[in-house]
Amino acid sequence: MSDIQDVVDVCIVGVGACGGLMAKELAEAGFSVVGLDAGPRYNPAVDFENDETEMLKLLWSGQRVTSGTDPINPWSGFGVGGGTLVWCGVAPRFHTNDFMTASVDGVGVDWPLTYNDLAPYYDQVEQDFGVSGQMGENPFEGPRGPFPMPPVPFSYQAQVLARGVQKLGGHPLHGPLAIASVPYRDRDACNNCGFCMQGCRSTAKSTTLFTHVPQAEACGARILAESTVFNIEYDAKRNRVSGVSYHDAQGQAHQIRARMVVVAAHAVETPRLLLLSANNTFPDGLANSSGLVGKNFMAHPTCTVTGLFDEPLNGFKGPVMGDLLAQDWYETDGQRGFARGYTLEKFVPGPFFYASNMMNLWGADLKEMIRYYAYAGGWWVCGEGLPNDENAVTLDPGTKDKHGLPVAHLKHSWADNDRALIQHGIQKAKETLEAAGAWQVQAGPVSSAHPMGTVRMGNDLKSSVINPYCQSHDIPNLFITDTSVFPTGGGANITLTAMAITLRASAYIIEQAKAGNLN
């Protein structure tokens, strides 16, 4: 139950990677901050278990309706800490061309900012959140500062797969991992237990729950768990948002008044909240004069490709994903017949997730893959899915949540470019596994990850919802900072980029507030 009666400087909706970082930055700068998260607040040392199924509770499980040729409902986290509870800590940067695919390749749209604009914020997030890696190793990424920690050493599985990459003329890369390779700022080094996705039981994996959240609270921020925001309050006379309304764990409605609202609820719930917050001034959804809130729903086309080897690789040891990456097929290659590319990321999870990624197999084929689990080495192919304004998050007209509010409807179809791209990635994954010595290789079904794109960033009021500093074009004291702001999605994991954008936005907010421009 909220007892917050005062008008706070800022309400943050969603306390995950971006909301938690924003809370910390603004609280440190002296703002009074309240962060609300729909999920519970877990205590990692007590609540997290090395148990694949038990920890499924860390995933968003609220109902959604899907449609389209390729209906998808990509994973997101549930709880204070958001997606960082369940992520694998894979923290690559986007490459220079990722920010200008329209100019370079004639597909997608250009971002209103460049790699160089973000580079200092990438540097700072890597230091602050804790990212391990090898500077100078990746010939494909833009100029960068040093990593704060040496790379997590290749697991044995990664070493075997790296040989396959080399045989194909590629570059095996130590994945930038937000996992402490050595003790770092009161955090323990990773002990290779292999249960990253189950909510890291130590402090090795960078998780907002025990990094930015306590740092924000130390500066006075208040974090409310199990508090689901259902409306952003709007003052039409002043054209300002004025606070939020939310349901507590018992379903009671409350209101908090705020001078500024930051929405960081991920690329499905963020547009849903803006659409739910429609009012007389904004009948099609708050801050939606462009009509683009919810449009251009994107995800990465993905696939798990697994090989069986003669010797045991024991893939359950070490970081579950991405201690080894290959980005040799990341950029557009005119010979391949499609634009953009993908990253290969080493991936063999625990037996249940391992098998769950092979839903296209059954009978003897499935049994063989499970039987030789300890001998498996695998890739997760993470490809770039291009924006498509037919794909959208809307309010479902028929299905309501437990509070009687319409749930999100996700309409999604892959385009021809996406299909060709992921098939190329699957083929390359197979070739590297075979080159590394696999005697059996199986690809799972094409899947999706990383929702993005539903509140596009841009300079033009008609073709975007927010400006390059994540500020609503329509309402100056409303900010959106999560992956929904991405104009295009890159071909690798998105969290670090979303955090760098958030950090840049927080610097802007602090500067603008000091100048009195957000009142």
């Binding site: 609540d47 509770k57 050493p153 764990a249 049994k367 039987r371 300890a374």
Partner: protein, 346 residues
Amino acid sequence: MASWQITDNKFDFSVTHTIAASKELVYQVLANMEAYPEFINDLVSVRREGSLYHFVARAAILTIPATLLVTEIPDRSVDFELVEGPVEVLTGSWLVEEGDTPSQTKITLNIHAETGARGEWLLRMTGKYVENKTDKLIAAFSDRVEALERGEVPTPVAEKGFMAWLKRLWARLFGKAAEPTPAPAVSTSGKVAALYRDDHSSQTLEALAATVLPPDDFDAGVQGLGFVSVVEMRARYEAGREELYTTALNAVDKMAQDMFGKSSFIELTFLERTALLDAARQNQVNDNIWRNIKPSSFFGALWEDVVFLYCTHPDTWMRIGFPGPSFNSGGYAEAAQPQKFMGQKN
């Protein structure tokens, strides 16, 4: 010290722990069940209705409601019995005793559970759950008691007045509740009506599972692991799941008649079962048989339940060389070295 055993489809568990706080305070925390969700994250809510307590708990992907009949013997014990919930029988008690010194209190948790025939998986899960959760529960209680002592949370109001005094006195003298507990409004029989435990349903489910993951020279797949109780548990607590399975169990028998002229799915050969399931998987079926259910959705659910049971079972882990949880034993220092198979070879 914890001890547990499973014999004859019954599970018994006991654990004792000492908390550095007064007996009165510890008892108050244990007995104040409505406050549990404030410090136990896996509990969504607890609502009291006389001596009945309605719990809603999170367990993996399921949200499970359960009703307990609770009997309090002040400063001595909190006894509970499942009235409605996921297993057939679950009884237990918290026992509160003075520790070795006056500032210490010994608490003992006893639990007894039964899941009935074909409930192997459920009994194992109950055992695992109780074992995993107990440490956390006791840690949560210890933290709560310490927080109370530091004044960080308001102390629960102890019952006052003549009746409370009488109850306490009675308990001290006779070691039981002063007043007989009112009979619960809910029948205590048939806590969980079995959905698919009749011979035909359970044999059909086992046959479907064996088609997805066939027994072979390596092992028996999910046979003997309690597949029926997995299906039942999800059917009971996940919307739409019961209709899916109930419709499918009828539909596969009708398909066996249509496709092969045999009376039921279990009469089919392995190859016939495979052909039938393949048709269902691709939605190449007579729609009348499946009514509102998409056969491919059923195939997906079946596949998921089979893989879930097989791949989370410690017997499978041992055979495929997965050692299971590793954090508490220190993880793997040798992850970067050449590896050895860590299971038991057949």
